[in-house]
Amino acid sequence: MMLRVPQCNMPEQAFSRIKNLLGLAARKRPEVGVTPADVVHRENKWSLLHYRRATPARYKTPILFVPSLINRHYVMDLVPGKSMAEWLLAQGHDVYCIDWGTPGDEDRYLSFDSICDKYLGRALRIAAKSSPRGQAHVLGYCLGGTLAVIHAAAHQEKIASMALLAAPVSFKDEGPLAAWTQSPDFDPEAITRAWGNAPWPLLQSAFHMLRPTLNLAKAMHLVDRAWNDEFLDGFLAVETWGNDNVSFPGAAFVRYIEDLYRKDALVNGDMTLSGKPAKLESIACPLLAVTFEHDNIVPWRSAALVVDRVASTDKTHVKLPGGHVGAVVSKSASKGLWPMLSKFFVDHEARGVKTRGARSANVARR
């Protein structure tokens, strides 16, 4: 069977495709996370970034971005033109971001409470200080969203509103991650006893196993669109981010698996934060939960459940098409997701908690 060269509208495209594919290894990697930011706080390995603004912010309540612990924070600031931070700054927001840093060997003892209560709490207090209301909006992505929810369930004085992107809350789902972590043969403590922190290569291979054919599919997509330099730069930026993982602090990892995955403590109401109960029903701030239909890392139902459980009167669930990462950093995100987040934060700028009930929507790709 013969395979014809991928169809191109123009001969230049065919030429660009071949040229780009041949030069892929030597191609300059796009610079990621380049939006200028000041480090306003450092503690242990984490730091708080404050993105620089050329003009004063139009909106006085800052946004605090809480990224996942096992991925780098710059997913929010991937490359110029595909940076949520840059886009929110342009809309007049004041943006802070937690950079969790790289845990050292000594962080095997770092507890879940230290991260979720002490570190996140301090980041929130620092960000909120610049606001006349003494509050900040929280934008949590993936595990960062889970941390934000747990923190809000114990302390929400400083939270003006909370937006969650693919943040798992219920861990008893049908996904492979739940099956693996709930298997009695899987011993998280054995991992941390051996390595200290849960090593990132182990976590990354677990994520690859979620869809073992994904790399082949990516390769196919790459060949298909290799003629497009903009696509190629975006693809390489996402790959750079996707392969730049960090290990999970040991003690925090064990508690994460035991309490959240195995006991589903957040949903069952048994979660505590530094000894204080962290119940979803205590959350009363305005809430926006965004889930992604084709998310194979965080099944959308697992992230949507928070809307049913919190006490907030102003709560919305939006299900968008797309996957766990693509839907957040793609070009379409700048036309759909990002404006939606900005509008949510602007709507809750002057508090005035609206009293509409829970809403759920499926927003079609524009």
Partner: protein, 95 residues
């Protein structure tokens, strides 16, 4: 002769079906049991090796890696407590 577009479509169908099939396998107790056990055993073996090494270092009077980790962790905790105190002082000065 197969065009690129039809090849791509067939690939997508194959990829989707294969991914679904593999997902059922990786979630199956037949795979989870042995692989979980192998992982745990490998981890236990590494921990045993590290422990033996640490005992050797300890026996010649040198601090082990674990000792150093514990000390560094305590220093980090101390830093956090100092920052807590600074925050509290700031709050009191404001009040």
């Amino acid at each position: 002769m197969m065009t690129w577009d039809s090849w791509k479509k067939s690939f997508d169908v194959w990829e989707n079906e294969t991914a679904k099939f593999l997902e059922t396998w990786v979630k199956s107790p037949l795979v989870l049991g042995p692989s979980g056990m192998m992982l745990t055993q490998a981890m236990k073996a590494k921990a045993q090796y590290d422990k033996a090494l640490a005992q050797f270092w300890g026996s010649v009077g040198l601090p082990t890696k674990r000792d150093q980790e514990r000390t560094l962790h305590l220093l980090n905790k101390l830093e956090s407590r100092l920052l807590d105190l600074e925050e509290q002082l700031e709050e009191q000065q404001k009040a």
